[in-house]
């Protein structure tokens, strides 16, 4: 190999290495907030919570069905706004293979029960008492909804309150 060729290879490899370092840094920097968050296409992390009626819900048991996973709090106005719509759509879609799981972010049984009674909610509501599920899903702020398809993959992450129409559209997206 002649000197000139060796020099070219040397220079090219150093520049490629430095370029790769730059690309990596930029990529890592711009995804660092998203790495923290749960991303579309990820497999949804499994969890187990017990609802207000004492039934255990394990996410992976819903394989084959779509899951509309909603995180909420009783004091949160946008959460309250979408609850009745969610309930209407739950009634329509529960027989078509879409499940709604509404995870409260760790309030008292009392507050959650009163809230569910007030809005006459029929879908399963569970309280994430020690914040483990919220931490796993990096929930902040409320409300946030994860659309999980029949293969347990996260199709989309929705923040802010949803209208009845958009909830229906999202139910269609995860219908098996």
């Amino acid at each position: 190999m002649d000197k000139k060729q060796r020099r070219l290879i040397m220079r090219t490899s150093i520049l490629v290495l430095l370029g790769a370092a730059l690309v990596f840094s930029l990529y890592a920097n711009f995804t660092k907030d998203k790495v923290a968050a749960v991303q579309k296409g990820d497999t949804a992390r499994d969890f187990v919570l017990t609802d207000m009626d004492g039934n255990r819900h394990k996410l992976s048991d819903y394989k084959g069905q779509g899951v509309f996973l909603n995180f909420w709090g009783t004091w949160c106005k946008p959460c309250e706004y979408e609850m009745p719509f969610m309930d209407n759509q739950y009634q329509k879609y529960k027989d078509q293979g879409v499940q709604i799981l509404a995870v409260n972010v760790g309030e008292s049984d009392y507050s959650v029960k009163k809230f569910a009674e007030k809005h006459q909610l029929t879908f399963p509501i569970m309280i994430d008492n020690n914040n483990q599920v919220q931490t796993a899903y990096k929930v902040d702020p409320l409300p946030v909804t994860f659309l999980i398809d029949k293969d347990g993959r996260i199709v989309d992450t929705l923040t802010g309150s949803l209208s009845e129409e958009s909830i229906q559209k999202h139910m269609e997206r995860i219908k098996p």
Partner: protein, 547 residues
Amino acid sequence: MKEVVKCECGHVNPHGTILCESCGRVLDETQKNSKMIDMRYEGSARRSQTYNKSMIDKIWNFFTSVKVGVSLIVILLIASSVGTIFPQEQYIPPTELPEVFYEAEYGFLGKLYYLLGFHNLYSSWWYLICIAMLGTSLLIASIDRVVPLYRSLKKQKIARHEGFLKKQRIFGITNTDKQASDFEEIKRSLESRRYKVKEENGNLLAEKGRFSRWGPYVNHAGLIIFLIGGMLRFLPGMYVDEVLWLREGETKEIPGTEGQYALKNNQFKVEVYDKENEEDQTFNAAIDKVGTIVKNYQADVTLYEKEGNSLPGEDATLKKIKDHAVKVNFPLKHDHYALYQVDYKLDELSEMSFNLMNKSTKETFGTMTISLDDPKTMYELKDGYSVELMSYFPDFEFDENQEPVTKSRIPNNPAFIFNMKTPDKPKGEVSFVAIQQTLEPLGENTYKMAFAGVDTRNVTALTVRKDLTLWIFFVGGGIFMIGVIQGAYWNHRRIWIQRKDGEIWLAGHTNKNWHGLKRDISMILEGTNLNEPEDQLEAKHIGEKEK
């Protein structure tokens, strides 16, 4: 274009060489007529100067330029300082929206600051690109210079070409007939001054401190290691910086540990210096002057590790690892994680007690204690007396419709709606009770809920920190300093002495501190017949002034 330059002495130099690597003959035509030669990089051919053909070479040459490097440093310096004028986004109050905050707080300049992206400067794409370009420039410019410099210092011959000697800044000729004795004398004296002396055919080369020439490159290597450390922080698992708020009695997963560890807050306390306390007597004057002085912020915690593969939400088996008192500057350390005391909140309400009381007779019918985390629907008191909790607002306020609502789930300002059921009022009487406030929305009541006390707890905030990159920063910083010291406290001095037909030629060169070199030379020449050489640069200046 020629790829190599052959010197008259027979040595083959790379293209672009100014002074022959071996004998020092001036090869560059433009330098031939100058009185002194440019000794930078030993007149070696910087790699980038050789040719300029492919795209790669063009990029390479761009980064070898000192001008480019300096420009990048200046840009980064200015940008970094502008970034400190107003607070960065992460330091503005978390409730504020940045697009509003900067304009509201700092006016037009604030708005501009926000629009130009300075509110998030240190992770902006252009700032990162500039840093990366500076790193590239450091690396490439160093490679481009250190390799040929090393080559020419290694290949230098003892006998240099006349022109090379004549054109050194320090140069002198002495006519003497005692050549041999003087020569030996000088040699001894050079050696005693810790010069490395090499001799060849009656020519001398004395050299000292060559390693100081590598200082800048060592320094650059340190900087590059530093940058690599910064880059590694992006890798998952290398760096964690989170905050954990923990109430007394609460056990929570430690964020950033992927569910591996949990922490329980047994107690949080703030201690102040006390005049009554013997130990604190020394501080009496200060206590009198400023009042309360905090002595200690302390969270007594227990660290647990999760056992088995339980899912989030499942009751995990926790294995106790250790108890620890986290104080300011005394973190809890375990498995590369450190928990630092960083903030706190005292006296958050946890329980409230009420007595059911007949308003007119003041007779009470039992006490009920409401856990603000977990209130019950019914509280049974004495026979026939009970209280139903109809509504609970942990952080109460009236909304726009004058309806009671809660602002958050934290019991900052709890309010309750009670239904008091008594034998004489079996359907119950409704009372709205908040702190310092009682309303009877459905008409005058016979009974009331009389406030009977509160229980509070403290909350601690801990910073969760893990940093596996820190040592890289120390290594990089250490190497940087070694390079600085190497280049700053030592000089590379060389003295050439040659015998030519009854004359002794002496030339000297140093990379810095010419005064030191001159002093060395005059000490060496003491007691010999040799004339002190002239500083040609000074002579030139004096000459110009006299003109």
